[in-house]
């Protein structure tokens, strides 16, 4: 087949939407990923109030619900929901494109540079999505909570994690978060174009550090409840 028989995209494709392009969607994924990781990090820090007792945590929850006359939390929720939506949209369409790009696989592909985390992004992401839904039904709306008390988030938190299955799922989801985050944080610097040999090890170390911190602290909550450290 000669090159001439196939078209060169040329001028008309040049203006084709940022969002339609592969790199554009990568950037969307990275940008929304940063928002979500930012949220996760702040969320983790906020929950540290649980170690300070019921009052501190309930006070913190109250603050969240009432800031900016109760509007604040809705703004947060809107941003987060949009971010999740865009992230999932970008991830899904890119994953489908990527699968279509290699219709016939290798007999035994040897991976030498990729990591388990990088290869399981789509699965850690799906588990995270499931977890997010469960998490909202569990501790925000209380739909799947055994004895939900709208006025006492601290009690919901403690009682919720007393159920070993719930705590278990929570821990598994956090490990998925760890995988997703470890690759994702590094990956999104690359997607934003932040690479320079001088700072490359810094990017890796930052990803590892942040992941260990967030996941470590988050996992400590159910463990603290199950061991009775928080009660």
């Amino acid at each position: 087949m000669s090159v001439a028989e196939q078209s060169i995209a040329g001028a008309e494709a040049r203006g084709h939407g940022f969002l339609a392009s592969s790199v554009g969607r990568k950037v969307v994924m990275a940008a929304t990923g940063v928002i979500l990781f930012g949220f996760v990090t702040v969320h983790m820090l906020g929950n540290l109030t649980s170690y300070m007792g019921a009052e501190a945590m309930n006070h913190y929850a109250q603050f969240l619900r009432t800031m900016v006359h109760g509007m604040g939390i809705w703004v947060f929720r809107a941003v987060l929901l949009t971010a999740v939506g865009l992230h999932i949209w970008a991830a899904t369409t890119l994953t489908l494109d990527n699968m279509a790009a290699r219709p016939v696989g290798y007999r035994n592909q040897q991976n030498v540079a990729s990591t388990w985390a990088s290869r399981t992004m789509r699965w850690s992401g799906v588990i995270l999505a499931a977890f997010i839904i469960y998490h909202l039904l569990h501790l925000t709306t209380g739909t799947v909570h055994p004895n939900f008390d709208h006025a006492n988030p601290y009690a919901n938190f403690v009682n919720g994690f007393k159920v070993p299955a719930a705590a278990g799922f929570y821990i598994v989801a956090q490990l998925c978060l760890g995988l997703h985050m470890w690759h994702g944080v590094w990956s999104c610097t690359q997607s934003f174009g932040l690479a320079h040999p001088r700072y490359n090890s810094l990017r890796r170390n930052f990803a590892t550090g942040l992941t260990v911190l967030v996941v470590g602290v988050n996992i400590s909550y159910p463990i603290a409840v199950l061991t009775g450290f928080i009660h």
Partner: protein, 639 residues
């Protein structure tokens, strides 16, 4: 057949300028009405196709690789010459001209060489503008290195990948034109025939190497830029696909073949390791800037590791014989010197066909890091192939077939003896005489493609009425297609036992032994008996599995070998008839007492151009007398 060189008159440095003015021009509005076919996408073909498309001609370009970017020019390592004199060391257009004529042992046309030297500077400008990342100094200016046969530093380079970078530059320009729809590219298409109507080239026949389909392309002019035929030796530094098919088919249609015996044996290649060897790898000549060539003084030492041979027992034979050029003596001279020491039994390595190229002095002087910066990728390549570390033990090298100075005869306009058929780059014979200097083939390919053909093609096309192309169903077209199909059928139907490679190897051995670095009458006559025998065996005992209407690499190889079996014969005939030694053509009967080449200017200061007379007929040798008005005929000395 008449060989009209069409060299313009006037002083040498005004000829090209005058000629450019004298050439007729094609009206800009008419340019798109002319179609030009370019066979080959190397430096010569790629540059030509892109430049002609920029001018407005309709261009179709063909190559046998899967992409024009892979033409064999990509393998050139060392560099490209230009008379910029950026180093302030006394270079000039005239000196480059002089060195090239002398380097070619006075067997090239002065006017062509001078033009080459003139446009050399434009080439560097063009390439830099295209984004070729030539090596630079810290001040941001271009760096140069020295190459064999010159005492000035005029070689521009991009690490050890100069050919690759220049080709990518031309390829980008070509792809740009493809994107604009000005060039239609046909990769994986092999040209198998020239269509000639009333003695004028009007098109070509190609085989689509993926589908096996044979099709014709008609046009107003055809340019062949199909490279050299060095693979006639089977083992050479050329890519596996390099072939003589295109030029050979043109020869059989009436294009004279000039100086077929002028082939270049490159002194620095990695030695052969065994019968399985499929090609030889060049170690760039630039290595001779810092490497010192030696063999042991005594035969008995040859089996010892290099490190155990003390300094006083080493024979740095190039430095000894040619004190002023030393390790940078030109290629023909260095190759022959290597052959001599090996013939004396002083060669090194398991086969004793090798000499050392030693970097220890340079590493001590400049440090390993500097050497790595200059030659890193070459050292790496060497280690990969030989499993030896050249930073620690000296490289072993041996000469190998590398380049063919001979090629289709062309006039000053690069047109062959078939009107409308132009020949560019290594495929023509024009600029290097009997020996090519390092870093000047890239220069010639780009000169032909960027700066000569765009002018001279206009001069030719201006004489043709637009729209007078033959039709695709012209009987001449059908006949040419039929000839190609018949030949394929013939090859496919032999049904013997042996592979194409087998015959190629056999031919290669004969050529290397009898028409290689040293030639003599008895050997050449022997070769002229042996080659027809191999050819006969080929046509009786060849086996090609599969079908002709499909991708069939054995068929491709067989077609090329069939042509090499004929080219080889013409080379030997030419070598036999040229009763003198000059450049790469060393007739053992003509040497000085010191073993240097002995030219016979009285009888052989000419180009020998062979005319095909038909199957089974002896070809006829024509001559074009060479006159030297500017560079005086002198014995070439590098002492």
């Amino acid at each position: 057949m008449e060989l009209k060189s069409k060299i313009p008159d006037g002083p040498i440095d005004k000829k090209w300028e005058k000629h450019k003015f004298d050439l007729k021009l094609v009206n800009p509005a008419n340019k798109r009405k002319y179609k030009v076919l370019v066979v080959g996408s190397g430096l010569a073909g790629g540059a030509a196709a892109a430049s002609m498309a920029e001018l407005g001609y309709e261009v179709e370009c063909f190559c046998y690789q899967d992409s024009p970017r892979r033409a064999h020019s990509i393998a050139a390592q060392g560099g490209i010459n230009a008379a910029k004199n950026y180093q302030n060391d006394g270079d000039s257009v005239y000196r480059l001209f002089y060195d090239t004529v002398k380097g070619g042992d006075f067997r090239a046309r002065e006017a062509n060489v001078h033009r080459l030297a003139e446009v050399s500077n434009n080439i560097i400008d063009q390439c830099v503008a295209q984004g070729v990342p030539f090596a630079r100094e810290y001040g941001g200016l271009l760096d140069n290195r020295s190459f064999g046969g010159a005492q000035v530093s005029r070689t521009f380079y991009a690490r050890g990948q100069t050919g690759q970078q220049l080709l990518i530059g031309a390829y980008q320009a070509l792809e740009r034109q493809i994107g604009l729809g000005k060039v239609k590219m046909f990769p994986r298409h092999e040209m198998l025939e020239v269509i000639v109507v009333d003695g004028v080239a009007k098109g070509i026949v190609v085989r689509d190497m993926v589908t096996g389909e044979v099709t014709s392309h008609v046009a107003d002019a055809v340019c062949l830029a199909t490279g050299g035929y060095g693979n006639v030796f089977y083992l050479s530094t050329n890519a596996k696909g390099c072939n003589g098919t295109a030029v050979w088919r043109a020869y059989k249609k009436g294009a004279a073949f000039a100086n077929p015996c002028f082939t270049q044996i490159h002194p620095t290649c990695i030695p052969v390791t065994g019968d399985h060897q499929s090609k030889l790898t060049l170690m760039s000549e630039s290595l001779r800037n810092d490497g010192r060539i030696w063999v042991p003084k005594r035969k008995e030492d040859c089996g010892k590791p290099a490190s155990e041979i003390p300094e006083e027992d080493r024979d740095y034979y190039l430095e000894r014989k040619y004190p002023s050029y030393g390790n940078l003596a030109p290629r023909d001279v260095s190759s022959r010197a290597a052959k001599q020491v090996c013939d004396e039994g002083r060669g090194v390595g398991p086969t004793r066909l090798g000499v050392y190229l030693d970097f220890s002095d340079a590493i001590n002087r400049l440090g390993a890091a500097k050497i790595e910066e200059k030659y890193g990728n070459l050292f790496e390549m060497y280690e990969r192939i030989t499993d030896e570390n050249p930073y620690k033990t000296p490289m072993r090298i041996f000469p190998a077939s590398h380049y063919t100075m001979g090629g289709l005869w062309v006039d000053y306009n690069l047109m062959s003896t078939i009107p409308g058929l132009f020949v560019l780059g290594e495929a023509n014979f024009s600029d290097h005489g009997a020996n090519r200097l390092g870093a000047s083939a890239l220069m010639q390919g780009l000169a032909d493609g960027y700066f000569v053909i765009p002018y001279t093609i206009g001069g030719y096309l201006a004489g043709i009425k637009p729209g007078t192309r033959i039709k695709a169903d012209d009987p001449a077209v059908k006949a040419a297609e039929q000839a190609v199909n018949d030949r394929t059928d013939k090859l496919m139907s032999i049904g013997g036992k042996e592979t194409p490679t087998h015959f190629h190897r056999e031919l290669g051995k004969v050529m290397w032994e009898m028409c290689g670095m040293g030639r003599n009458e008895a050997g050449l006559k022997k070769a002229l008996e042996l080659i027809p025998q191999i050819r006969e065996e080929f046509w009786k005992n060849l086996r090609i599995p599969g079908s002709g209407n499909d991708l069939n690499q054995s068929l491709e190889a067989a077609g090329r070998v069939a042509d090499f079996l004929e080219i080889g014969e013409l080379m030997c005939l030419d070598a036999l008839e040229r009763r003198e030694s000059c450049g790469g053509h060393f007739r053992e009967e003509w040497q000085t007492e010191e073993g240097e080449a002995l030219r016979d200017d009285e009888n052989f200061a000419h180009v020998a151009a062979w005319e095909y007379k038909g199957e089974g007929q002896a070809p006829v040798r024509h001559t074009e007398q060479l006159t030297f008005e500017n560079v005086h005929l002198a014995t070439r000395s590098y002492k």
